[in-house]
């Protein structure tokens, strides 16, 4: 069992996964885009502008998911001192920042035709902006600090403090009166989105997930090589 998780097995698994994702990615992308831009119907109020949802919502979900994952691994790393979690977090953080920025930008582009404004400092938008700042602080900790122990401590503290913002983002549309609409898709309870829109959304979510996995694997592979290079004379 433990032999399976040796660095050589992990390395070849990463390479196989990268090859697999590369082989199916463009097919899934074309299917997702066809659903999102051609086959899905316009909204009865928002018209065709609703198509922005197919990039905005998966980006926002992944931005939140990445930070939740980083927080979980930071806590586990804080307790169990598992060095691999440090490298996983380092590889995930730029992906989370990218998706959070994209959610904010596409949200702004959706806001202009829908609300008549590019930006408003309401609860949902502000809390997403705060998430972006936490991602920036988190990545800066890796860039600016030198000692690995210090990086682990500082980045874990940033992640744990930043995680307080996650439920605020989720429930901001319920706790405060905001321009942003409440959630249409619920894990528990019935969703208010029609299946003709849900299917393209799930297809685009799959595209974003595959992309995130691909970038993560490439960055994690880079980290493995960096460590191996550092230890080359010791092996």
């Amino acid at each position: 069992m433990f032999k399976f998780f040796s660095s050589s097995n992990v390395y070849s698994l990463i390479q196989n996964l990268i090859n697999f994702i590369n082989s199916i990615f463009f097919l899934i992308l074309i299917i997702g885009l066809t659903f999102a831009l051609v086959l899905s119907p316009p909204d009865y109020i928002q018209g065709d502008s609703v198509r922005i949802m197919y990039v905005h919502v998966p980006a926002a979900w992944l931005g939140l998911a990445c930070f939740s994952f980083i927080t979980l691994l930071s806590i586990l790393n804080f307790i169990f001192k598992i060095k691999n979690f440090y490298f996983i977090n380092k590889s995930i953080a730029p992906i989370g920042l990218l998706f959070t920025c994209l959610a904010i930008i596409t949200g702004s582009l959706w806001g202009q035709p829908t609300w008549g404004t590019w930006w408003a400092w309401d609860a949902r938008l502000t809390s997403m902006f705060v998430l972006m700042l936490f991602y920036m602080f988190y990545i800066l900790a890796f860039k600016l600090l030198n000692k690995e122990e210090l990086i682990v401590k500082v980045s874990s503290i940033i992640a744990i403090i930043g995680s307080i913002n996650l439920p605020i983002i989720k429930y901001s549309v319920e706790w405060w009166t905001t321009l942003h609409q409440p959630a249409s898709i619920k894990i528990v309870g019935s969703s208010s989105i029609h299946s003709a829109m849900l299917l393209p959304l799930l297809a685009m979510l799959l595209v974003f997930l595959l992309y995130a996995a691909l970038i993560f694997l490439m960055k994690y592979k880079t980290e493995i090589i960096r460590i191996k290079k550092k230890n080359i004379k010791r092996t």
């Binding site: 390395y11 390479q15 959706w110 970038i215 191996k228």
Partner: protein, 77 residues
Amino acid sequence: MITDFIAMNGYGLYIWLSFGIVFISCAAVYLKAKKTLKKYENDFLDELQNLSVAEKNKALENSEVAQQIVAANSKIN
């Protein structure tokens, strides 16, 4: 028909700009990640080349990851 598709009932600018920004940003991050990975692979191979034959053999013998990097790049003598 194509004009209608591009116009998206007046929302074309917002929709294409959203999809375009996402596509360009994701492509840029992908290319950057790929370039960095390639750079580290090359640095690793250069480091391996600079070792003596005995050190190189020992490094390859003891590290399957090193063997895989070398095999994937087929750059080492």
